[in-house]
Amino acid sequence: MKWIKKGAGILIAVLALSFATFLAFQVLPGDPAMVRLGTNATPEALEALREEMGLNDGLLVRYGRWIGGAIRGDFGESMKYRRPVSALLWQVLPNTLLLAGLSILMILVIAFPLGLLYARFPGSPVDRAGAVVNQTAMAVPAFFLGLLISVVLGLWLRVFTPGAFVSYDRGLGACLSYLVFPAMAIAIPKAAMTVRFLRSSLLTERSKDYVRTARSKGLTENKVLMLHMLPNALPGVRTFIGVIVSEIIAGSIVVEQVFGVDGLGLLLVQSISNRDYNVVQAIVLYIGIVVLVVNSLMESE
């Protein structure tokens, strides 16, 4: 029952979101038919193409037609590429998902050991040095980190070739080994945030009564941390990570651009400037669903 309620909530939110996107494009200047035909377009050709693309119908008619198709899984045709939107999405989505998966893995691998370490020895030199590193890592924007990684690891040390991205369908291994670097750019700031959040939630637990009881039972400090404090701090951390995960799966637009990863973010940015409504609508819908679903899954009960 609870899940049905949640599902209905998500559905309503997604509908509202897609309608808002639809409206936003009415306000933006620019005509997709004009973008397609360019400077030599005659008024007759423009009119014919607008008619063919269905742009001459009223707003509600177009929205109705779009949502009708979307429910059946048909997102229409890209106005720029003249091929099905779903084909375009399938070409880029796996890249974005692989990047997201790698980033999330990195965040978890970095954040948990460090968070636990700092919380185990609060105020120690390790903790204090860690705080400085953490603060710096959090403050660096992902795109800047991306440029830094490209220049240092790519151009100076030649560990990888910036821009020479290989799409998943042309070699999964090559694709993943390239994605490690953009994943670093995404993971480092987010891991730093997670470390800080984990450390502070653990420390809040530290002063609680049950911890004192556990200690008085003679448990070692390590056991208290792992068996008592961590399980109690986890629900909050889980919600926090949920937000991060949905942010990452929704697409790391800027990092994808810096590293030239042919992912969802890149397609979204280009489709907006091409006024490729159908593609934008489909991507916004996808992002909306991901954010809503992941958040409701991760929410503490």
């Binding site: 620019g30 005509d31 400077t39 005659t42 193409l49 490209s150 910036p162 890149l266 397609l267 280009q270």
Partner: protein, 509 residues
């Protein structure tokens, strides 16, 4: 050119020497084959050459498609799918004799029917017209396209015009495609030196050498046009070695690449201008427009943007047009701030004024130009505010609705002088600066219909003079094009039209 030739000689000499030692290998073999990656920064807008709009698409498709004629590196039109052509004295009939045995990439021979179909499609004369096909506006004068055989049994295409136009030949570069082939936009088929292999949106287009090409065959076996989302990303790839040729370097980038890449410098063949809306205040006053011209220092602009390369222009044409181009106008408005201020005072703007220039944000070059110009105008008291707009907005707002005070853009052209001047015809939809001159319009009509070259040259000089005298806009320059080429490659050639010809490129050793 001399340099390239010298390289050839040197190369030939070394080859011969090498062969003498090894005894046996043919020297040409070393020149053939290999794969090259060319970086481009604009995705292709269609693979169907008749639907492609962007210059960035046409420069790629040039390798796959050809017209009846095609431009050579000097801007002359040379026969391609046609083996010869003739224009009647009165400028109303164009006759093309087709080359025999030209093959499409699917192995079929080009027929007269394919040519007639292609021309009809470009002229918008097919029965069922596809709204996406870019109809060539100049072809509207065509009244008939017919195929026949001449005495020697060769196919002849005769194009008849309803009114004389002696410059239409420049538009017969329109590409020849197979008749009624439905998949042109997915798996394009043409007659060019390279054939299409694959295309992935936002990623790349791959082509291979076409071995049945009738003319000089390409050297490279495979060319990949790799699409980068920005010039910066492409520059990284270039430095990292995953791109061999990159055609749009900035001066700074070119400097950084020195020693690692061969930097070739050519001309973009564009009229870059600060185009002023002649219909709005204060630009409706010719004195203000002249003041703008005097206020701008083109020499400084060229230094700052191109490191001194590029050609300053004084009217709406560039030097590629040879005889038709009037070079004397280049210095019609020498940089003179005092004169600019004087003219402004006369027009009632002694304290200057403020206006907004709309610049398409995807063209970094035009944005940089705007920044330099804003500084120069400041010195005579004019404040130019820069408003960056998306390309889609530029098309609908500036180009279609003529809704701007000023804009910066580059205008390109077919190899016909009437094509580059078409923007200034009074009342034309393309006249986004709302320039109005009855004298210009009358001379334009005359010029396109005149067959006599001397008379024609005179008329085109007259047209350029009107634009300059009326200070229709601030005509800036034909920008230079800086191309990074992998030092292992040779043969990169510039054309007076915007293309990347890969057929002439080869590996040195």
């Amino acid at each position: 050119m001399k340099k390239v030739f010298a390289c050839f000689l040197l190369l030939a000499a070394t080859m011969t020497a090498l062969c003498a030692c090894k005894g046996g290998t043919k020297p040409e073999e070393n020149l053939e084959g290999g794969a090259v990656v060319v970086g481009i920064t604009q995705d292709l807008d269609s693979l169907d050459p008749h639907k492609a709009v962007a210059a960035g698409t046409r420069e790629v498709l040039y390798n796959i498609f050809e017209g009846l004629v095609k431009p050579d590196k000097d801007g002359k039109l040379v026969p391609a799918v046609a083996e010869s052509y003739e224009i009647s004295e009165d400028g109303t009939t164009y006759t093309f004799v087709l080359r025999e045995g030209v093959k499409f990439h699917n192995g079929e021979t080009v027929t007269a029917a394919d040519v007639v179909y292609s021309l009809n499609r470009c002229a918008g004369r097919l029965e069922t017209s596809d709204p996406e096909v870019q109809v060539v506006p100049a072809f509207s004068v065509i009244s008939d396209i017919a195929a026949s055989k001449n005495a020697a049994g060769k196919d002849v295409i005769t194009v008849t015009l309803s009114s004389p136009n002696t410059e239409l030949i420049g538009f017969f570069t329109s590409n020849i495609i197979p008749k009624n082939y439905a998949d042109q936009a997915k798996a394009p088929i043409g007659t060019g030196p390279f054939k299409f292999v694959s295309y992935k949106p936002m990623v790349e287009l791959v082509m291979e050498r076409f071995d049945d090409y009738y003319g000089q065959k390409a050297h490279l076996a495979k060319v990949t046009f790799s699409i980068s989302e920005s010039s910066d990303a492409a520059f990284l790839q270039l430095q990292a070695g995953s791109i061999d040729i990159f055609p749009y370097l900035t001066v700074d980038q070119a400097e950084q690449l020195e020693g690692k890449f061969t930097i070739e410098v050519g001309d973009m063949s564009l009229v870059q201008g600060l185009f002023l809306n002649n219909a709005v205040k204060p630009f409706d006053d010719v004195r203000v427009r002249k003041a703008m011209n005097y206020a701008i220092d083109k020499k400084e602009l060229l230094t700052m943007l191109n490191g001194g390369y590029g050609t300053a222009i004084g009217s709406g044409m560039y030097a590629t047009f040879g005889l038709y181009y009037d070079a004397t106008l280049e210095n019609a408005y020498p940089h003179d701030e005092a004169k600019a201020k004087e003219l402004l005072a006369e027009a009632g703007y002694a304290n200057g004024f403020t206006f907004t220039v709309k610049v398409p944000s995807n063209y970094v070059y035009h944005v940089q130009t705007a920044e330099v110009l804003a500084n120069q105008l400041k010195k005579v008291g004019i404040t130019m505010k820069i408003e960056l707009i998306e390309w889609a907005s530029w098309l609908s707002d500036v180009y279609k609705a003529h809704n701007c005070e000023a804009t910066i853009i580059g205008l390109d052209s077919q190899l016909a002088p009437s094509d580059i001047l078409k923007y200034y015809i009074g009342g034309s939809a393309k006249n986004f600066m709302n320039y109005k001159s009855d004298a210009f319009d009358a001379a334009y009509t005359k010029a396109t219909a005149t067959a006599d070259t001397t008379k024609k040259v005179e008329l085109y000089h007259e047209l350029q003079k009107y634009l300059s005298d009326d200070a229709a806009s601030v005509f800036l320059q034909s920008p230079s094009l800086m191309v990074a080429v992998n030092p292992k490659l040779a043969g990169y050639t510039f054309y007076p039209v915007y293309v990347q010809d890969m057929a002439s490129v080869y590996f040195k050793d």
